[in-house]
Amino acid sequence: MLKYIARRLAMLVIVIIGVTLITFTMMHLAPGDPAELIATARYGMENLTEEDVERIRVAEGLDAPVFIQYLRWLGHTVRGDFGCSLVTGDPVQEEILLKIPATFQLALAALVVSLLIAIPAGIISAVKQYSPLDYLTMTGALLGVSMPNFWLGLLLILLFSVTLGWFPVFGYGSLRHMILPAVTLGTGMAAITTRLTRSSMLDVLRQDYIIAARSKGLAERNVIRTHALKNSFIPVVTIVGLQIGHLLEGTVIVESIFAWPGIGKLLVDSIFARDFSMIQGCVLLFAVLFVIVNLLVDISYVYLDPRIRYEKES
């Protein structure tokens, strides 16, 4: 078990290096002189002088070759120094740590919304396959999967904020602020999760042990609850694990719509501001989050599926 975890963490390191290397490369392939951009961000267009730009170039080490710059960055990062925002001058980790809670809350809320909708819907659709309810659910799920989540967000704003005035559009602070973003993000995920839950459940319902359970004279409800559910949860955990990626991707867009002060919005703003240090910091964070959450999901299998537990122990 420990070897498995160690291997995954080693992978994390490679991923971080790979991804940040790509980002770094892109930053330097981008049009515009980084030093100039930083100077503009700091001092504004009008007050800029040649000396300022040069000073910044040297100070930030932008005169060295790209590869050296990357190694330098890597060296700093390993020592826990993530640099400072090129826009505000504040340390990157401060800014990020400040914004993590907001994203975490949104993601959690969205996940809850998504699971509350998807799992019952998927299970009921599977159990009552071919019924009108099944078709309705599947149609809804298909629409949900095809709909851009930012469009859904805007429609929800249109309906609930603008027309009905129930919820505020922007901002952060109370439950009321969180509902629209969480529903936007959660509904999109629910669509995918519903489909996957349903097919997983259908798969289980086809198995021999379900027929065997029925042959014992167990009530159908009992068969579903005791025999089918646990088996279908294992793939559902995979599904939810796979959804973490979508969840993170979704926060980027949803936070931008609702001006939710989280890491997603931070990343988008940093990209447009060409705040390189911040971009690297955010990318690093997303990599770590993604790999660790997936690792946790994989570990949870061990507790859910006795067959895997057995393999690991033997």
Binding site: V15, M26, Y130, P148, L158, V162, R206, H246, V252, N294
Partner: protein, 289 residues
């Protein structure tokens, strides 16, 4: 008993029809979209860039069936021309990703060993990071322009194809016809193209069809955030971005482009789902009484 029998029989044919029906509907809509894209100049009532600052943000009317945007441009016309861009991105990105994925997957599966290890590690690395975010970073840093979005999306889109093709190649490789071909002296490339590729193409087609829809959504998302083609080029995603500020006064700026995206992606999903059912009948869902 007889009525139950009749009910079952009727139910089953209905279901079979329905499944194929969705795929056909999808195909029809896609064809319609292609026609719209190709004949855009003829179909659009106005020029997509044409501004009329006197008629800014007008509600839908006979002259402007979808209304006008904040520059007085006809929303319907912009959506019609936007079809070109959306379909183009979807097709080009998917084509590039699929081809790259097929090649890499084929090489990995066929040669195995070090090549397989290296390629699969690269796949794992790319898969270990949320694709859209990486695409966002890449496209965002490279700057505005459709090409950057294309590049970014293609870069994060190939892994699925590589994995699927590799898996299929590994399965097919074991079969004797490969050995036969090899013993007859066929070149590797020949075997890969003539023998393996046709057997491996089915899941790729399904993936690609669904992939086009997925790409269009992703591209719309990136455009919404401000990347990709810049105004006045009509891109559905950025049209939504424009409409964002005027939700109260001109909701149609938001409703129609979004609807266009959804219908387009839906049609590819219909088709993709239908194709998947056809190519893998073992996935047919039979339920138990």
């Amino acid at each position: 008993m007889a009525s139950a029998a009749v009910a079952v029989e009727r139910n089953l044919t209905f279901i079979q029809l329905k499944k194929n029906k969705l795929a056909i509907i999808g195909l029809l809509i896609i064809s319609l979209l292609v026609i719209v894209a190709v004949f855009a100049p003829v179909l659009a009532p106005h020029h997509p860039y044409e501004q009329d600052l006197d008629r800014v943000m007008m509600a839908p009317c006979s002259e402007y069936p979808f209304g006008t945007d904040d520059f007085g441009r006809c929303i319907l016309s912009r959506i019609i021309f936007g079809t070109r861009i959306s379909l183009a991105i979807g097709l080009i990105v998917t084509a590039i990703s699929a081809v790259a994925g097929i090649i890499l997957g084929m090489l990995a599966g066929f040669y195995g060993g070090v090549i397989d290890e290296v390629i699969m590690r690269i796949v794992d690395i790319f898969l270990a990071f949320p694709g859209l975010i990486l695409a966002l970073v890449i496209a965002g840093l490279l700057g505005p322009g459709m090409f950057n979005v294309l590049f970014a999306l293609a870069l994060v889109g190939w892994m699925g194809y590589a994995r699927v093709v590799r898996g299929a190649v590994l399965a097919e490789k074991e079969k004797s016809f490969v050995e036969t071909a090899m013993s007859l002296g066929a070149s590797d490339l020949y075997i890969m193209c003539r023998h393996l590729l046709p057997n491996v193409i089915a899941p790729v087609i399904v993936m690609a069809t669904l992939g086009i829809g997925h790409t269009i959504l992703a591209a719309a998302g990136l455009s919404f955030l401000g990347l990709g083609a810049q105004p006045p080029i009509p891109v559905w995603g950025s049209m939504l971005n424009d409409g964002k500020q005027y939700l109260q006064t001109a909701p149609y700026m938001t409703i129609f482009p979004g609807l266009a995206i959804m219908i387009t992606v839906l049609s590819f999903n219909f088709l993709g789902d239908g194709l998947r059912d056809i190519f893998d009948p073992r996935l047919k869902e039979k339920s138990i009484e």
